[in-house]
């Protein structure tokens, strides 16, 4: 879409930055760990059946996706454009983690493939029963107007 005269990012949107979500629970399930391992044909002995350790990429199953409830909808289209995973320690199968999400940044981009777009970055951190950090995920979604993007291409 063409660049609007005024920013589409409102004070209400900005006010969401830094607000932490209510904690939610995520369980490191054996069935997920082994299914993902097997699909990837991962033969790392650390993730063998009897070890009780889940591969790091199990984060994809419960924390690797955008928390859309946290994310202001400013433009109708959305694409995952950047993502980060951080691992503080291995995941243990069966452990229950507490997840807390927050919006960490909202910014505009002028021009580019999608025309005027808004980049929203959210973070999702996971803590064990003792409150220690286990892993985190950060996701940037580029919001754009698909009609406007099509016109400009």
């Amino acid at each position: 879409m063409a660049t609007p005269e005024q920013s589409l990012i409102t004070d209400e949107h900005r006010a969401t930055i830094g607000k932490k979500s209510e904690p939610t629970k995520a369980v490191v399930k054996e069935i997920d760990a082994h299914r993902m391992r097997d699909i990837l044909e991962d033969r790392d002995p650390r993730y063998a059946d009897e070890t009780g350790i889940a591969p790091a990429y199990i984060l994809a199953g419960f924390g690797g996706r955008p928390n859309r409830n946290m994310m202001p909808g400013i433009l109708p289209g959305g694409l995952l454009t950047q993502q980060e995973w951080r691992f503080t320690r291995p995941f243990k199968i069966g452990e229950e983690l507490t997840s807390i999400s927050q919006v960490v940044d909202i910014r505009e981009r002028l021009g580019g493939r999608y025309g005027y777009s808004v980049l929203i970055t959210t973070a999702n951190d996971f803590y064990d029963a003792d409150g220690n950090h286990v892993a985190g995920s950060m996701i940037t979604i580029t919001q754009f107007d698909p009609k406007g993007a099509a016109r400009e291409e």
Binding site: M36, L40, P55, A60, Q82, Q83, E84, F87
Partner: protein
């Protein structure tokens, strides 16, 4: 899987490339068939309506492959600490991807041996995902 040691790693070392063939079934099975996912992961027509040209390969499946790629390179005493990627182009199921990587830095960080790598997924020779990975390696000493 052989063990990699910090002392043996040099900047500009290249990882042996690995080829992966993503399929629509693989994408759905990775998340679990009972879990909701983007319809375009399983349905080539949905992907075509998005302008992708076929069933879309999930970005986080590619992240999982990159994590495994670097973890295998590091060996069982190595630990992937961080993976940061930018999704440059969508990938379509049925088209092979080549995972490639290169060491760009090695340093001591709080007494830990940290190696940083640039990684990429190549589709038809063109990068579709670019990323940086930090991995901790053991010392021979």
């Amino acid at each position: 899987m052989s063990q990699r040691y910090f002392e043996d790693v040099n900047v500009n070392d290249e990882l042996e490339p690995v080829e992966k063939l993503p399929t629509a079934d693989m994408a759905i099975d990775f998340f679990g068939r009972d879990n909701p996912t983007n319809p375009a992961f399983a349905d080539a027509e949905a992907g075509k309506r998005m302008g992708v040209g076929g069933a879309l390969v999930p970005g986080i499946l590619k992240m999982a492959w990159l994590t495994q790629f670097v973890s295998d390179w590091a060996g069982t005493e190595g630990t992937v600490r961080n993976l940061r990627v930018a999704f440059r182009r969508p990938d379509v199921a049925g088209n092979p991807l080549v995972l490639s990587g290169r060491v760009v830095d090695k340093r001591q960080d709080d007494g830990k041996n940290v190696v940083e790598l640039e990684v990429v997924t190549l589709a038809g020779g063109e990068p579709s995902v670019r990323g940086n990975v930090q991995v901790e390696l053991p010392s021979r000493g």
